[in-house]
């Protein structure tokens, strides 16, 4: 790519468009936002194409000494690349999803979303500790406004809860970061990833980071802000929240907690496992009894994120790769599910499951897409969900078969609540006349759902495209944390290979020749 600062460009395009949107009329703002996000999608594809697989660990690096105390340093590895691509891929879809649903204060709405995009890319691309923190934390402001201004009935309570929960979590992380920067004498993330902190200090630092990432992720029991925020946020807000913002927690674990504090991660893995196991079972059961579609998907997000955390703390390549794929897959699938909810919400203005029914009769195309994403959420082979969950559980099985066992029930329960949801919405009788009259997908909705469906299938059938860019980084991470890796209870031992074929019959003690001796 020569010297073109592509990451800075990706930060600047939405930011400039956001400022422009504040001054434009509604139709102009919509077009500007769509154009800006499409340009960024183009830049994201350029980024992916030019990313050199197996090349240097940090690519597209930029550095400028603009500030005192921290530097403007950008750069990505394979992990960040995929998350950036996920963000820029979802953004135009979010803008399309808000095309007609948002009618008041459109310019400000689009501006908030575009600022959000800048900040998300900034989080994944930041190579300086405090630049990361600023981007990470700044996302609160646009999200607070999106939930508060354009949200549903209880939007004010939800926006407060979202804001204060996440703020409290990340404040402790700031103190830990200050301590680290003071101790290591640098704020450069790649350097810090190689720095060995004293194991006693690691525990405290790890807990401080955990406070932030666990809330963001969100892990049980600090997940309660998520269902509220999801339910009250407009459709596109939910998509971004589930699709990208939750991934910041997982990204934080993979970028900070694991490589910077490997010993503490190993010592406190039990905490992660315990919380994740509870989360998988409890939130799946809660999802099973929801009457509100968005709430159901929100709880399923918590359950899926628990699979991510156990995968991350499995300390092996399968677990880490699986966690990454679950994150990417969940970003696509839960985003798509929220879009599916949004499609029918726009028509009937209710999220009550009981108000729908038999939609596959009058909305067959919609039902097909919805089915695909339901299956992907369950983790059906051939969809992206399967690859990620399989790898994660395979990884965790090597560490603890009990954790693997409990987490695997999440897949069964997932099938239960997702199929139950799908059955109530799409199959059965058409109970309500107004639901039965709803028209099928229009072109705009097609354009939103089809790309995600394609990506879900691509990731399910040929995950190598997504595994290849991050293989080196995962391997490097695994090598870094190997010294602290727990032993695990599985003791996988390869059996001795037999020389003969598996169905060979052992010669009987009495040979045919001896038979005649009788």
């Amino acid at each position: 790519m020569g010297g073109f600062p592509i990451l800075s460009a990706m930060l600047a395009v939405p930011l400039l468009a956001a400022i422009a949107c504040l001054f434009l009329s509604a139709p102009q703002a919509r077009l500007t936002a769509l154009a800006a996000t499409l340009v960024n999608l183009g830049l994201g594809i350029v980024l992916w194409v030019n990313y050199e697989i197996g090349g240097p660990q940090w690519q597209f690096t930029e550095r400028a000494d603009l500030f005192a105390g921290f530097t403007y340093a950008l750069g990505i590895d394979g992990i960040a690349l995929l998350l950036i691509v996920l963000s820029v891929f979802l953004m135009p879809i979010c803008i399309l999803a808000s095309w007609e649903a948002i009618q008041k204060r459109v310019g400000e709405y689009m501006a908030a979303f575009l600022v959000m995009e800048t900040l998300m890319i900034g989080v994944f691309a930041a190579q300086d500790l405090f630049l990361f923190y600023i981007m990470f934390e700044a996302g609160l402001i646009p999200m607070y406004l999106i939930i508060g201004i354009w949200g549903g009935q209880d939007r004010i309570y939800a926006s407060y809860k979202f804001f204060l929960y996440t703020l409290l979590g990340s404040m402790l992380m700031l103190v830990a970061m200050l301590w680290m920067a003071n101790e290591a004498g640098t704020t450069d993330i790649p350097t810090l990833m190689q720095y060995d902190f004293a194991p006693e200090a690691q525990i405290w630092l790890w807990l401080a980071f955990f406070a932030s990432f666990a809330v963001k992720m969100p892990m049980w029991p600090v997940h309660t802000w998520l269902p509220d925020a999801h339910v009250q946020a407009p459709t596109a807000g939910s998509v971004i929240l589930a699709g990208v913002l939750l991934k910041m927690g997982g990204y934080g674990f993979i970028r900070f907690s694991l490589p910077m504090f490997p010993e503490a991660s190993a010592q406190l893995a039990w905490l992660i496992f315990a919380l994740s196991m509870v989360a998988v079972v409890v939130t799946s059961l809660i999802a099973l009894v929801q009457h509100d579609m968005k709430k159901l998907i929100a709880y399923s997000s918590v359950a899926h994120m628990a699979i991510v955390t156990v995968g991350l703390f499995a300390f092996n390549v399968q677990g880490l790769e699986g966690a990454m794929i679950v994150m990417l897959s969940h970003g696509l699938v839960s985003g798509a599910l929220f879009l599916c909810v949004g499609v029918i919400y726009d028509r009937l203005h209710t999220r009550e499951i009981a108000r729908y029914g038999g939609l596959s009769i009058n909305m067959p195309k919609y039902a097909l897409f919805f089915l695909l994403f339901t299956m992907a959420s369950i983790g059906l082979p051939g969809t992206s969900g399967f690859v990620g969950e399989f790898l994660s559980l395979a990884g965790i099985y090597q560490v603890s078969s009990w954790v693997a066992l409990v987490c695997a029930t999440g897949i069964i329960l997932g099938a239960a609540y997702m199929l139950y949801l799908y059955w109530r919405v799409a199959y059965g009788e058409q109970r309500n006349a107004d639901a039965a009259r709803m028209p099928d997908l229009n072109v705009r909705e097609w354009a939103m759902l089809a790309p995600i469906a394609a990506a879900v299938l691509w990731m399910g059938v040929y995950p190598e495209s997504f595994l290849a860019p991050m293989r080196h980084d995962i391997a490097a991470l695994e090598a870094r944390i190997a010294r602290a890796a727990p032993e695990g209870d599985a003791r996988l031992l390869a059996g001795e290979a037999r020389s003969e074929a598996a169905n060979a019959v052992a010669p009987l003690p009495h040979d045919a020749g001896e038979e005649g001796a009788h």
Binding site: G69, S159, V175, L178, N182
Partner: protein
């Protein structure tokens, strides 16, 4: 050092004194018609005095070459940096005040004169290196401030604020004087350098008492908990331009003075006062945050916010290091911009009939009526709450960094956790302006001067402000070096 060199060192103060005396005459002869002219000349005077600070700031002058009148006054980089902030804040207040007073027919030339005299007092405060100079500056500032608080003499709230401020301020001055007399008695000198020398080694109880009383008196001036009770009442009662002034310039002066007293005069006995400062810091953060939650009046709310902010500044002082003093300066600079911005926005909120809009109910749905004003206030509030990417975050960042570097990790952790409580009422501000349905009160147009100050301060607290943080850090380091001449 001869007399002329000493006079050269206090040139900014001389300019201010000359301008204020001149303007007293001008207002006596010109009457109310001269009000606008007097304000303009006062701004010119402040600007001229500020220009004289440049050489000291630029070269970062510290040490004996800056000591005037036999070390009664130190015109060093620390004083100059604080003065620059004070003058800027005073200019900001003078620029926006005439329209506000003019609206209610109360614009008089005395306002500018009083502001100028108060500023002169503050100039002396931040340069003081002797208990006598300290007291002289403090009282000059306070007397002008008492009159300013009661400036609208027909308004009972303003008169009450003035009286309250005067009585409690006199009490605080008494406490301060008592502490100073104890220190003089036990140290045998009033000069900071002498006190520092007398305090080496084990400290006598008399000195300790003196130190505590002096700090208590100063805590009143910076409105740190537990000496904060006057703040909400005075801020609410005083006319808004005066409140703006109180919340910015005198705060800078008092904090700078406290820093000089603690780090210079008492610098040899850090452990003697650190606990006091830590307590005041945490108590201010918590009380400032909790007290604001129930408020419906915006001026009271911002008063609690300023108590809250003082707590964060004191964390920088508790670090008792050059980094801490530098962080305090950076925080003060950002604090002045934020406070000036938010109070100017409050001043711009008035109904067409002249009634000031001062409660949450009045600003409900402001974003649909005056979007530009609402967005500026949003930036100021998130900045005050310390949410990145706004510059208010950077102020908190540097003080916590200094605390962590000084080994006060627990203090920093408690401080940041408590700042979440404060975030609650700042985001309530945003909630009322953006999420609530609009009230039917109209908001009158604002003047260009008000818009200019608001736009400038908003630009500073916006992410663009981070481009300034190099200059802030540079200035802060130069200033801090003046307080750490001795090991």
């Amino acid at each position: 050092m001869d007399m002329s060199a000493s006079f050269a060192l206090i040139a900014p103060e001389l300019v201010l004194a000359a301008f204020s005396l001149l303007l007293v005459l001008a207002s006596a002869w010109g009457g109310d018609r001269a009000a606008r002219t007097v304000s303009i000349i006062a701004v010119v005077g402040l600007f001229a005095a500020g220009m004289l600070l440049f050489p000291v700031l630029h070269l970062g002058k510290v040490g004996p070459e800056t000591w005037a009148f036999g070390d009664l006054i130190r015109a060093d980089a620390f004083g100059a940096a604080a003065k620059a902030l004070i003058y800027l804040a005073a200019i900001g207040c003078l620029v926006v005040a005439p329209h506000w007073f003019g609206r209610i027919g109360a614009m008089k030339p005395e306002f500018a004169v009083l502001v100028l005299l108060a500023t002169l007092g503050m100039s002396l405060m931040v340069s003081a290196s002797d208990l006598l100079t300290l007291y002289l500056g403090l009282e000059l500032n306070s007397l002008a401030a008492y009159v300013l608080a009661a400036y609208l003499r027909n308004d009972s709230r303003s008169a009450e604020a003035g009286l309250k401020y005067f009585v409690l301020g006199a009490l605080a001055s008494g406490i301060l004087l008592y502490g100073m007399s104890l220190i003089y008695g036990f140290a045998g000198t009033t000069s900071f350098a002498g006190i520092r020398e007398a305090m080496t080694g084990p400290m006598s109880n008399g000195l300790l008492f003196g130190l505590i009383f002096v700090l208590a008196g100063l805590a009143f001036k910076i409105s740190a908990v537990p000496f904060h009770m006057w703040t909400p009442d005075v801020y609410e009662g005083a006319p808004t331009p005066v409140t703006t002034f109180f919340a910015t310039a005198p705060k800078v002066a008092a904090v700078a003075l406290t820093a000089r007293v603690a780090l210079d005069a008492f610098g040899g006995q850090v452990d003697a006062w650190r606990q006091v400062v830590i307590f005041a810091a945490l108590a201010s953060i918590v009380v400032g945050a909790l007290g604001a939650i129930g408020q419906n009046n915006l001026k009271r709310l911002l008063a609690y916010s300023s108590i809250n902010n003082v707590g964060f500044i004191l964390i920088g002082l508790a670090a008792a290091s050059a980094a801490g003093a530098s962080a305090m300066f950076v925080y003060l600079a950002i604090y002045v911009a934020m406070t000036l911005g938010s109070f100017v926005a409050l001043m711009m909120l008035h109904a067409p009939d002249g009634r000031a809009l001062e409660t949450f109910d009045d600003i409900a749905g402001l974003s649909t009526k005056r979007p530009a004003l609402a967005w500026c206030l949003l930036a100021q509030m998130f900045s005050l709450a310390g949410i990145p990417p706004l510059l208010g975050f950077w102020g908190k960042f540097v003080v916590f960094q200094a605390a962590v570097q000084a080994g006060l990790v627990v203090l920093a952790a408690i401080g940041v956790a408590a700042s979440v409580i404060g975030a609650f009422y700042y985001i309530k501000f945003v909630k009322v302006m953006f999420f609530d349905t609009a009230s039917d009160t109209a908001v009158a147009d604002s003047t260009r001067a008000q818009w200019a100050v608001l736009a400038l301060t908003t630009l500073i607290v916006s992410p663009l402000g981070y481009l300034l943080n190099r200059s802030f850090a540079d200035l802060g380091d130069k200033a801090a070096s003046a307080l750490f001449l001795l090991p």
